[in-house]
């Protein structure tokens, strides 16, 4: 078990080190996240009441769009110079590889979520009524998106059409996450009278299934 965690940490650290040196997510995806928020503002005619009311949904759509980019990046770093073959030959278990890759995406998603939260507070005038619910939703949804995304990234990897294929494969599967996280944020930001904590249950179940299913299926996919 400790071996498993050590391997996973190694892979996650590798991906995060690549990010720290290349700054792709920080220099490209993060500004894109803010740009999406601004575009929503233009599209809804910059009416702050409307923006505030729909902030939870807009927030999570922005997260999913950014997640697509982060996952594409996570897949593409393994494509160059046959890096994936190197990982396969390293003797690490595919499940550890999966957890490591997903953890790196998770960390990046959390950073993006923090940035986007600041974005909706500043740009849309949202107010955080229940910080704990925002925190829990953000973490669980990030786990769900990172694990599902890493699995589907592997499904689309090595294909010339990966960039266009990944969204159509991944976004329908993430629909429950979008719905659950938006409802939870509706409650946490006081946009609608719903019980956000009950939607957290859906997110938790999704996150557990995505982690377990991804760890199981990843081996078959990278060893093909």
């Amino acid at each position: 078990m400790s071996r498993f965690l050590a391997d996973a940490r190694l892979v996650a650290a590798k991906d995060l080190r690549i990010e720290a040196r290349s700054r792709v997510v920080l220099n490209q995806v993060a500004p894109f996240a803010l740009l999406v928020l601004v575009l929503f503002g233009f599209a809804l005619d910059a009416d702050q009441r409307t923006l505030r009311a729909f902030a939870p949904g807009l927030f999570w759509v922005a997260v999913l769009l950014c997640a697509l980019l982060a996952i594409q990046r996570s897949v593409s770093v393994e494509q160059a110079d046959g890096a994936l073959s190197g990982l396969r030959l390293s003797g690490m278990s595919p499940a550890a590889l999966f957890v490591g890759k997903a953890s790196a995406v998770f960390v990046q998603l959390v950073v993006l979520e923090v940035l986007l939260t600041a974005g909706i507070i500043v740009l849309y005038g949202s107010e955080v009524d229940q910080p704990l619910l925002v925190f829990a939703t953000g973490l669980l949804a990030a786990v769900a998106v990172a694990c599902t995304g890493t699995l589907y990234g592997a499904l689309a990897s090595g294909l010339g059409v990966r960039e266009t294929l990944l969204p159509i494969l991944l976004l329908p599967v993430l629909a429950p996450v979008l719905i659950g996280a938006t409802r939870a944020f509706d409650d946490a930001l006081g946009s609608a009278a719903v019980d956000g904590w009950s939607w957290l249950g859906l997110l938790a179940v999704f996150a557990v299934v995505a982690t377990a299913g991804g760890a199981l299926a990843f081996g078959a996919l990278v060893e093909e």
Partner: protein, 267 residues
């Protein structure tokens, strides 16, 4: 050239499938005659005001919509079972079956959405009802299998396509129970009615036409599936033949002493 022989014919038709096709088309014509001609429109009188209420002619679409929906389930379950079978056995039969079932199922699912939407315009007064859980889950199902087909088309290596397809199909099929049980689990979040078939609340010609619909669309599914499976099988054999031919050509080049041609370099 090569000694590899093509083991099957060059057509997807056979004596049996032609009979099946003829029966299916005849059945489809009969169903349309009953659904759009012989059955009565749904007109009832309001118990207090005496106004005419009901679905009127729109009800005729349900003779297509309901059987199509049921056989969408059948096709996708078949796809999931074949996908699981492929992951266990790794034989091309399971993979070809999964691909065929997914493709036919996606067509059926699209028709379910279209017929439902056209029916919903007069009856629910809307093309699309966002609050309806069954509509949403069915649309997601359709999109996931559209993604499945896109993935299969984009993946060149047949073994990778089979493996990745199987994983996607097994994830996508998790949505099926949600579609099916949505009318029970979210009673107040759907405009769809619960199943009334079990209690036989509908009668006579209506019931007969609906049953005919089930029979006919069962035949349509079987017919399409048969041909799609055979197309998939022929495609696979064609690809294998191409590889065998290429290998034979390279071998012949080596035997002829032309090493440059054998390793793929221009002489």
């Amino acid at each position: 050239m090569t000694e590899t022989m093509v083991t099957t014919g060059t057509t997807t038709g056979s004596g049996g499938s032609r009979v099946l096709g003829a029966v299916t088309l005849l059945g489809l014509a009969t169903l349309l005659l009953f659904a759009f001609g012989l059955t009565e429109p749904d007109v009832r009188l309001h118990p207090t005001t005496g106004e005419e209420i009901g679905q009127f002619d729109a009800v005729r679409l349900l003779y297509l919509h309901v059987p199509l929906a049921v056989f969408t389930y059948v096709a996708f379950v078949l796809c999931a079972v074949a996908s699981a079978g492929y992951l266990v056995r790794r034989t091309p039969w399971f993979d070809t079956m999964a691909h065929a079932a997914a493709e036919v199922g996606t067509v059926f699912c699209g028709l379910v959405l279209v017929t439902g939407s056209i029916w919903g315009r007069p009856v629910w007064n809307t093309w699309w009802e966002w609050g309806d859980v069954r509509l949403m889950t069915t649309l997601v199902l359709f999109l996931m299998f559209a993604g499945y087909l896109a993935l299969r088309r984009a993946t060149v290596d047949p073994r990778a396509a089979a493996l990745r397809g199987a994983v996607v199909a097994l994830v996508a099929v998790l949505d099926l129970p949600l579609v099916n049980r949505s009318v029970e689990w979210w009673e107040n979040r759907t405009l769809h009615q619960k199943s009334t078939l079990g209690e036989l609340k509908i009668q006579d010609l209506t019931l007969f036409t609906l049953m005919l619909g089930f029979l006919v669309f069962g035949l349509v599914l079987a017919w399409l599936l048969l041909h799609r499976f055979r197309v998939g099988w022929l495609e696979r054999e064609d690809a294998e033949l191409g590889v065998a031919t290429a290998i034979a050509e390279r071998r012949a080049a080596i035997d002829g002493g032309d090493v440059d041609a054998a390793v793929g370099e221009d002489a």
